[in-house]
Symmetry: C2
Subunit: 258 residues, 2 copies
DNA sequence: CGTCTACTTGAAGTGAGTCAATAATGGTGG
DNA sequence: CCACCATTATTGACTCACTTCAAGTAGACG
């Protein structure tokens, strides 16, 4: 299935990883890889295409590859014993999926929209990282970035109420430039309510109620199932509550990347 | 403050990291470092001692060092805007604290009990990791292990009820050999109720109620503030609910380490 | 032995969950 | 292109688990 990686529809030259760097005071995530590093990674990569709903891999499968999202959205899902789902993360452009899980994947990962991704075979990647410690350090950075994101997720789930959780989630979407339509403020919601609910730790009815409340209060405008727009930014920040300061460090910042 | 690292009160030869490995099918965490790697790390390390309540570092401090716990218990804490605390993790023997946070620490870390730890200066460690990609890969393994732990924490906070959360927490303590007294089943609870509550996402009253309920139901025996014992293992697993299978992969396993 | 803090216990309140009925979407085929 | 249908989302009434507030009690430490 893998076509040549030379035609990366990226504007760039190959796999791409964003995170906050080890050094430097910049708090906004930026590209970690040099053009040369991206080229070297591209040499091991193939480009894969998935349609919405397709699985990149399943929980407990042998961990044979790491994926670097080029376009589209993916989600990482765990099935609990009682049949409920937990969505652990959504992945967008620049994100790294299935990173070093031990010998088997710890969760399933599924395309939410049609998806393109670099597929980096785990063994070849491991060899490359062993030969190139500087590149490896960039992967280590990315992983520590992911760890902080997971910890913020844990704070959200442990401490925030329904309105804060949903607002925070909308803010998270709003920070992704690829979800903005044209020049206007419209933001696409690529996933359905069940995915949102499983991600923010609520039931879909509660997600719906919060969305309608924010709409009624004229904080946001909800346009159908897959689109919204922030109308009153101050009220919106208010809705996120004290959550803003804790959470905004570390999410992709669409503007301040040099 | 740092004394010579040659006198590691460890039985071992220097810093120690446990995690599940990249290769091999073993699901139980094991020592990642070879004797030689531990010696090399020991060359950069100093041993620090902290009394209960002392901070290893504060949130937003420049991230100058990574710590590897030798003995005692530490916690990682974030202060929310409204004055509440979130405890993100507890750290025990073998754990790595403050790993590559970017240029500044993302949380505060505080000793819960008297604590001994190797202090590894960040710049020296970074140089070593750049020179030794195999060692670096072990750190990368540990970090991906931490990520999975954080994700399990997120599942717990998002999906489980009070009884499951507290039981899971007790199970987590029970899995730490250093908390077991002598040969009996008594387990020490090193932290206070507020720390437990902030970790499992409940109020202290709810933690207390669950503890008393499990005690009344003769599932566990609670002996004062800092000791408990599991009486009925089946009922205890029952209390954890479907949670067992999701959570037990990845916690330190006191027995099956070869 | 007394005092302070940490923990427990009870009663009342509330935010999110549950269950069930309706309504909107958007994909499909006529 | 429109009508139909299955799916997904909204809405309402009610319930319940956890929180909140308010005493009380027991450990720990000087």
């Amino acid at each position: 299935m893998g076509s040549s990686p030379s035609s990366a529809p990226d504007g760039g030259v190959g796999p791409s990883i964003f995170a906050t760097t080890l050094h430097g005071t910049a708090r906004a995530p930026r590209q970690l890889l040099s053009a040369d590093e991206r080229r070297r990674l591209a040499l091991l990569a193939s480009i894969q295409r998935y349609e919405a709903g397709a699985y990149l891999f399943h929980q407990d499968d042998p961990a044979t590859a790491v994926y670097n999202i080029i376009s589209g959205v993916a989600k990482s899902v765990t099935l609990l014993e009682d049949g409920r789902h937990a969505v652990l993360a959504f992945f967008f452009h620049h994100d790294l999926v299935g990173m070093f899980e031990g010998s088997r994947y710890a969760q399933s990962t599924q395309a939410v929209t049609p998806l393109t991704a670099y597929r980096l075979p785990a063994d070849a990647l491991e060899q490359l990282l062993r030969r190139d410690p500087n590149l490896q350090l960039h992967f280590l950075c990315k992983l520590s970035h992911e760890l902080r994101v997971a910890q913020r997720q844990a704070i959200m789930l442990g401490k925030f109420n329904a309105v804060q959780r949903v607002s925070l989630f909308l803010d998270f979407l709003d920070r992704h430039p690829e979800l903005h339509e044209r020049e206007n403020e419209q933001v696409t919601i690529p996933m359905d309510r069940a995915d949102i609910a499983d991600y923010v730790g609520l039931r879909i009815e509660s997600v719906s109620r919060v969305l309608q409340k924010l709409h009624r209060d004229r904080v946001i405008h909800v346009d159908g199932r897959h689109r919204f727009r922030i109308i009153d930014r101050d009220a919106f920040n208010q809705a996120m509550g004290g959550a803003v300061a804790e959470m905004d460090r570390g999410f992709a910042d669409p503007v301040s990347v040099p």
